[in-house]
Amino acid sequence: MADKRKYVIPGDVVTTGPFRPEQNVILDGDKIIATMVGISEIYDDSVRVLPLAGKYIPKIDDLVIAKVNSHTSLSWELDINSCYVGFLPAQDVFGRDFSAHADELTSKLKTGDLVAARIANFDRTRDPLVTIADRDLGKIDSGVLVPISPSKVPRLIGKKGSMIQMIEMGTDAAVTIGQNGWVVVSCESPEGLLKAKKAIEMVNEKAHVANLTEQVKEMLEIKDTES
């Protein structure tokens, strides 16, 4: 690994000098110190650490898989696998004509339902605002939830989606990946479902291994002549 990347734990000095501290580092005097377990990167004039542990921190426009925890007469509370719970207002689903008297929230979503959602707004003074108002969002009717570490999501997607496409093609499963580490897998055949689940869990466990792609390919029994 080139000098520009290092394994770090909290308190490690990544570098000293006139650098701008970005994500997961702090400035102490002229030392840039890591605050998380992860991989430090120095690029241009800034320093950051890519964390290998930690909860999902919501980012606006992120696609997430969420689970309905509870609801009031005006909104649902969603578990988004983060430090904060997601807030889904009734208007998002019923439209602006929503009336707390006439419209019953459980007719659309009830406790225990899984949804594909997007983070509409977030700042740390309020719970993240969530929406399911797009065509590709909404209640998930079938499939299995496979949780992985949020830090492994980029690896599961792969370069230009290569890893996840390989898994989908090798199993005939449809996979929806939430940036929050929750992944939904659905498949007509139970064998395909199990294989896809195993492949996803393998990526979660071995994200750092150099020949992971080969290992997943082997596990899915994909021969190079198949697409």
């Binding site: 690994m1 394994y7 734990i9 909290p10 308190g11 490690d12 000095v13 997961n24 702090i26 102490d28 110190i33 605050t35 998380m36 377990v37 964390p51 290998l52 542990a53 930690g54 909860k55 430090c83 904060y84 719970v85 740390r124 003074t125 750092h208 291994v209 150099a210």
Partner: protein, 244 residues
């Protein structure tokens, strides 16, 4: 030679302690990061005969809501000993000693944990002492630090801890149970190695001003040794199978 108990030899003429160690030699220490399936972060430590497990949850919603802080997250620590962890069976209800140690450990971790990044949340640290043999609070603090890092809680630094002390008019490192009972002083020290700050310090016993300074120094140096094992624990879990 010894302390309050005149019959026990705590330091012999060759400078060897009652368990065979030299005066600056810590007991055998093993730290493992992770291990629990449900906790957000965890760590297990063996420090001499101490066996301590730590689980961390958070940052997470605070219940009851009135305990949450709009400007910053809060840190909660519970140090708890199992009934079978000590010589005479301990009743399950929290003792005053456990409550005090919980507070002291919390205050030793707070300077390191960046709670301001997570307003309205709590980080919970649960320490369970499975087997006790002198110096549990230092071992617990050390493991708690690793568990917090394992949970991905942002920290300015790790916190490492060990107790220095005095037996037979000699300053020693890592006080074991017999030395704690029968020795002349016991000083638990918690230290942030990068920021070079002491975050836990207590003293039981009598020291001259010179001995006190030496005792703190020996404790701080000991913390640096412990820190290397914290680093190793996290390296093994997160960076272990990779080459560079």
């Amino acid at each position: 030679m010894g302390g309050r108990d005149a019959t026990m030899v705590l330091l012999d003429e060759n400078g060897i302690r009652c368990d065979g160690r030299k005066i600056d030699e810590p007991r055998k220490i093993m730290i493992r990061a992770g291990g629990l399936k449900n906790a957000d972060g965890s760590a297990y430590i063996e420090f001499g005969d101490n066996k301590i497990l730590v689980g961390v949850f958070g940052p997470r919603d605070v219940h009851p809501k009135h305990m949450s802080n709009t400007d910053t997250g809060i840190l909660r620590v519970r140090y708890h000993m199992e009934p079978f962890s000590v010589d005479e069976r301990k009743r399950p209800a929290p003792s005053r000693r456990e409550i005090e140690i919980s507070k002291v450990i919390k205050e030793a971790l707070e300077p390191a944990v960046m709670l301001e990044k997570f307003p309205r949340t709590a980080v919970d640290v649960f320490i369970e002492v499975l087997q006790a043999d002198g110096g549990t609070r230092c071992a617990a603090l050390t493991a708690a630090s690793v568990a917090l890092a394992d949970a991905g809680i942002p920290m300015r630094d790790m916190v490492a801890a060990i107790a220095s002390g005095k037996v037979a008019d000699t300053i020693i490192l890592d006080v074991n149970n017999e030395e704690d009972q029968a020795g002349q002083a016991d000083m638990p020290v918690g230290y942030m190695p990068s920021l070079e700050k002491i975050t836990l310090l207590q003293l039981d016993g009598v020291l001259t001003p010179e001995e006190y300074k030496k005792c703190v120094q020996v404790g701080v140096d000991g913390c640096k040794l412990v820190y290397e094992l914290q680093k190793k624990a996290l390296n093994d879990k997160y960076f272990g199978n990779k080459g560079d």
